[in-house]
Symmetry: C2
Subunit: 169 residues, 2 copies
DNA sequence: CGTATAATGTTATGTTATAACATTTACAAG
DNA sequence: CTTGTAAATGTTATAACATAACATTATACG
């Protein structure tokens, strides 16, 4: 039902949207997911999730580290990576392989979905793309080659609707 | 016309194939590409390309480095990365983002193509997937969201035909 | 030749990620 | 409420991947 930026489901996050709401929605849903899965959203995991949700731009593990340590903390990289692993295992965060960075999942709680991403080269904003036809085409193409699919990475780089120069396709 | 493992174009590289031929084909085509593009396939670039083509398993930059330095060489990481950059710029090698590794392009000389990859979790063998329907579905899905595509990464992990347990889909 | 450009060599450092082990915390069985 | 135990966290060190900056050498072309 919810979407990354309160518009209709396929909307790309808009520059001026009420992002505080994205964050609070995300945290609320994360609590629910963890409760239903009987896993614990501990302090550090929650703080890492908050850091990830500070924007729709994927964030590096060491950026998260800096944030957590901004007030004189002593958190170590390992702890960040462990929290991220937990968040990914529970479908709360995705890793963007092409950026070595992480982003909050826009569809928490929904079935462990294989996500595709649109990454804006200009503003960095990254959105999940849920395209059934694309998924079908992918499964079809792979099956034709006798390959058994296990997981997939689809990361598309370009210009988001808000950064596309006028007149461009 | 050629394919990664001498079968018909969509065949996945077979375990026992004559891989020496893959390598020599690749080097010959690379020479041709470089000649036609008026760029130089220098000694180190050629050696890196050979290293990449030692198998159909993506190879890390530091693995290449070890190979080149096996006989007491003193090549530095920077030189490997520069050679790889050249090879990628000229469409001779692809980077596999999910593995931080590199693999020889199966379609050298053909138009700078956006490739998709099938990566076997068992044997590591990685093949390029050229699926027009997939490409179309991708372009379509992206366009619908008002996104201007620039480049794309598609990396599918699973089991190749030769590693798929019997009875598995 | 002389000179500009491309390529390579060299040193140092930045960035991302994990290994290994110690300590603390949560939680339930007794 | 202890006490065992599994989960989570803390800590130190290091592995793995990648680039910056600058010096030197090779190539091409007038
Ligand atoms: Zn938002
Ligand atoms: Zn943008
Ligand atoms: Zn081969
Ligand atoms: Zn295989």
């Amino acid at each position: 039902m919810t979407s990354s930026a309160h518009g209709h489901p396929s909307a790309f996050p808009k520059p001026g949207h009420n992002h505080a709401r994205c964050t609070s929605d995300a945290l609320r849903r994360a609590e629910a997911v963890c409760a239903s899965r009987k896993v614990r959203l501990t302090e550090i995991r929650r703080r890492v999730l908050e850091a990830v949700w500070q924007s729709h731009v994927p964030v590096g593990a060491y950026d998260i580290l800096s944030q957590l340590n901004a007030g004189g903390g002593r958190t170590a990289p390992m702890q960040i990576y462990r929290a991220l692993e937990f968040l990914m295992d529970n479908g709360l965060v995705h890793r963007i392989a092409s950026l070595n960075a992480f982003i909050g999942c826009a569809h928490m709680g929904e079935d462990n979905h294989a996500a595709q991403f649109l990454i804006c080269r200009s503003c960095g904003t990254t959105a999940e793309l849920e395209s059934a036809p694309l998924k079908r085409a992918l499964i079809q193409a792979v099956a034709e080659r006798g390959f058994t699919i296990d997981s997939q990475i689809v990361e598309i780089s370009g210009f988001c609707p808000h950064c596309t120069p006028k007149g461009r396709t």
